[in-house]
């Protein structure tokens, strides 16, 4: 295997998951949650470390909220244990857990002002009045709602309500903060600002964040590690870079970012190198250490930006030809869809490094694609 660059997290110095001695802070141990016959969470085991920013990514209905609700104590696991800081949570009611949750539905108290909503948790712990006021002020400023303190939730827009919910969950500075789609209703600019400030706050306070999101870009930019879930199970847990560059399955590769998945047969596999016969009718040479024997069917996952496109015939290995089927110009990249001679569509992304592209390809032109032997990834499932 060619030396793969270390695939670390955003914070390169923070990687307790690769430290054998690090103590897990939150542990889901074989947790199953059944609603009737239906398993919303299915025998799931997961460890999260103190101070980690952990993101849960997955399609709608895959059990993300259920997982958070079990941690917060609103649902009891049907099987398995949940442990925080060495303490099994079974039997601990929600109001005694060191966990605060931001609800996907916000769950703001409609009869209380924004200020009262945010102060609610602090008043439960009998914090002195002036400190409450100070803390409320601080979190409201964080979510840019300091001028809305006396409004009722029904006098706010959807995005403002979401920010109140966020402020309310942040106010108590819990050890663990559960965020269920915290920024979904915000516009792009506010979303990016809030992302930035959330990450900042998290590093400052050392709070452990578990965030559910539909937005993979958000997960990539904010999280130390990402768990990709599917039908109540975790498919892969890894750093954003690893999830993107070394997905463990077609599901993850496809779920995070764009990818071309080529079905192929193993021709040779030795010394960390493999030769594959793509079903599309060309040979793939790749450096990959996958346990696969000749004749076996595998999948070759290739991100669009790792392909080079040319209007002139190319030779050598890892070359395939086709016809320009579609072009989409995005400004910073141009995206091509190339129909291979075998009928398959390949997605190619070309960075627009110069203002006028030297490549003058247009619809139905013939195009040649080439990729390096370490561009793609062989997947067996």
């Amino acid at each position: 295997m060619a030396p793969m660059k270390s695939l670390g997290s955003i914070r390169r110095d923070f990687a307790p998951w690769s430290d054998r001695d690090a103590k897990p802070y939150i542990l889901f141990d074989g947790v199953t949650k059944q609603f009737g016959e239906f398993k919303a969470v299915d025998d799931l085991t997961l460890t999260i470390y103190e101070g980690e920013f952990f993101a849960l990514l997955g399609a709608s209905g895959c059990g993300k909220s259920t997982l958070l609700r079990m941690l917060a104590g609103f649902e009891a696991p049907s099987r398995g244990n949940i442990v925080i800081d060495g303490e099994d949570l079974a039997g601990t009611p929600p109001y005694r857990r060191p966990v605060n949750m931001m609800f996907q539905s916000y769950a703001l108290f409609p009869h209380m002002s924004v200020e009262k909503n945010v102060a609610f948790g602090l008043r439960q712990e009998r914090m002195p009045r002036d400190q409450i006021a100070e803390r409320v002020d601080q979190v409201l400023r964080l979510v840019k709602l300091e001028n809305y303190a006396s409004r009722r939730p029904d006098q706010l827009s959807g995005g403002q309500r979401q920010r109140v919910a966020l402020a309310r969950s942040l106010a108590k500075r819990p050890k663990v903060l559960l965020l269920d789609e915290p920024l979904g209703a915000l516009d792009k600019k506010l979303r990016e600002e809030t992302q930035f400030e959330l990450a900042d706050l998290q590093h400052q306070l050392g709070t452990t964040f578990i965030m559910v999101t539909h937005d993979q870009e958000e997960a990539m930019t904010m999280a130390d590690r990402i768990a990709v879930m599917d039908q109540g199970k975790i498919v892969q847990v890894a750093t954003p870079e690893e999830i993107y560059e070394a997905p463990n399955s077609r599901f993850v590769a496809d779920f995070v970012g764009n990818v071309n998945v080529l079905e192929a047969k193993v021709l040779r596999a030795e010394g960390g190198r493999m030769s594959l016969e793509a079903a599309a009718g060309f040979t793939i040479e790749t450096v990959n250490a996958v346990d696969a024997s000749p004749g076996q069917t595998v999948f070759y996952a290739l991100r669009p930006e790792k392909l080079r496109i040319s209007g002139e015939p190319l030779t050598g290995s890892n070359v395939v030809a086709g016809e320009v089927w579609d072009i989409a110009y995005f400004g910073h990249v141009t995206s091509f869809r190339i129909k291979l001679d075998s009928g398959e569509i390949m997605k190619v992304a070309m960075i627009n490094a110069t203002r006028v592209s030297p490549l003058q390809l247009t619809w139905h032109d013939r195009a040649w694609l080439q990729f390096d032997d370490d561009a793609g990834l062989v997947l067996t499932r």
Partner: protein
């Protein structure tokens, strides 16, 4: 043709102010038209009868048919008739302790009954709202079920339950809780029981509606923020169900003040609630003007809580 469409669109969009304003008037009128029938209804079945009663209350009692004077028969004599109207009946009511006492008694009996009804209805409504969703329609049905038999018969049945040798006393003696029968019938307790029983659905249903509407995740959010269940009830559930509680209290209190059947059947001769006073004036004394005056004063007393109620509803809605 294309130009034509263009101008028409411009007018329909934000252009021609005349077109717009005429359409707005039409919409306004249509919007108002919808609320005309209820007004007509109120006018015909509430305001007109009330005005008739009010007029009678300003009349003088006579032995005749109808038993009061003046009557507004011939339009040419209306002016003379109008000058015969008097407020003597109101002065009479104000001067006689009997009337004042029966107003006071009605108000406090209705008040206590309302509180008892609330104390029973709230847990009932709470239990219903927290019951499994499949069970709720059945529970609602059970609350409404008593309405399927006559109100009079149901109140009458309570005599059989509450009298000294009645079911309740037999039961209490049988299980050894008491030796002597309790005297409940013909006391205020019988009236409290009767009103509470009869008006329970009117309290239960609005409270149930407000609890049912409440988002359960609010309770979860409260718990999540460190609030134990009992406190969450006081700080979240109760305030959010308050509109239902207020509505229920008025729905019970207002008719209970003027209640006639229950005090008459269960309360015996010692309680004199205002409904009974009106009845006595009308049918025993045949003094329609005083009876009408008593009724008008009752309406005046009840208008105050009704106005408060509506204020509250308007505030809760807005």
């Amino acid at each position: 043709m294309a130009e034509d469409v263009g101008t028409r669109n411009a007018a329909a969009g934000s252009g021609d102010p005349e077109v717009l304003s005429s359409r707005r008037t039409r919409m306004k009128f249509r919007g108002r038209a919808v609320i005309i029938p209820p007004y007509v209804w109120l006018l015909a079945f509430f305001l007109l009868p009330f005005l008739i009663v009010f007029k009678i209350s300003l009349s003088e009692v006579v032995v005749a048919m109808p038993p009061y004077r003046p009557t507004f028969g011939d339009p040419s004599e209306w002016w003379g008739a109008l000058r015969q109207l008097t407020i003597d009946n109101y002065l009479w009511i104000a001067s006689d302790e009997l009337y004042i006492n029966s107003y006071v008694e009605s108000l406090w009996i209705a008040g206590i009954s309302t509180v008892i009804t609330l104390l029973i209805a709230y847990p009932l409504a709470y239990g219903m709202a927290r019951a499994p969703a499949g069970l709720r329609p059945t529970l609602l049905m059970l609350v409404i079920l008593p309405f399927w038999t006559s109100f009079l018969i149901r109140v009458y049945a309570w005599i059989g339950i509450l009298k000294p040798e009645g079911l309740l006393n037999q039961l209490l003696i049988a299980i050894g809780l008491i030796d002597e029968p309790l005297l409940i019938i013909n006391t205020h307790w019988a009236i409290f029981i009767g009103i509470t029983y009869s008006y329970l659905p009117f309290m239960t249903l609005p409270i149930y509606a407000s609890l049912d509407r409440m988002d359960h995740s609010l309770i979860e959010a409260a718990a999540d923020l460190g609030c134990p269940p009992l406190k969450a009830f006081w700080t979240i559930t109760l305030p959010l169900s308050l509109p239902g509680v207020v509505a229920g209290c008025f729905l019970v209190f207002i008719p209970a003040v003027g209640e006639f059947v229950i005090p008459d059947l269960l309360g015996g001769s010692r309680t004199l609630m205002i409904g009974k006073t009106v009845w006595l004036e009308f049918f025993t004394n045949r003094d329609w003007p005083v009876a009408s005056a008593v009724a008008v004063v009752l309406v005046a007393i009840l208008v105050l809580p009704i106005v408060i109620f509506q204020r509250y509803q308007a505030r809760a809605g807005g």
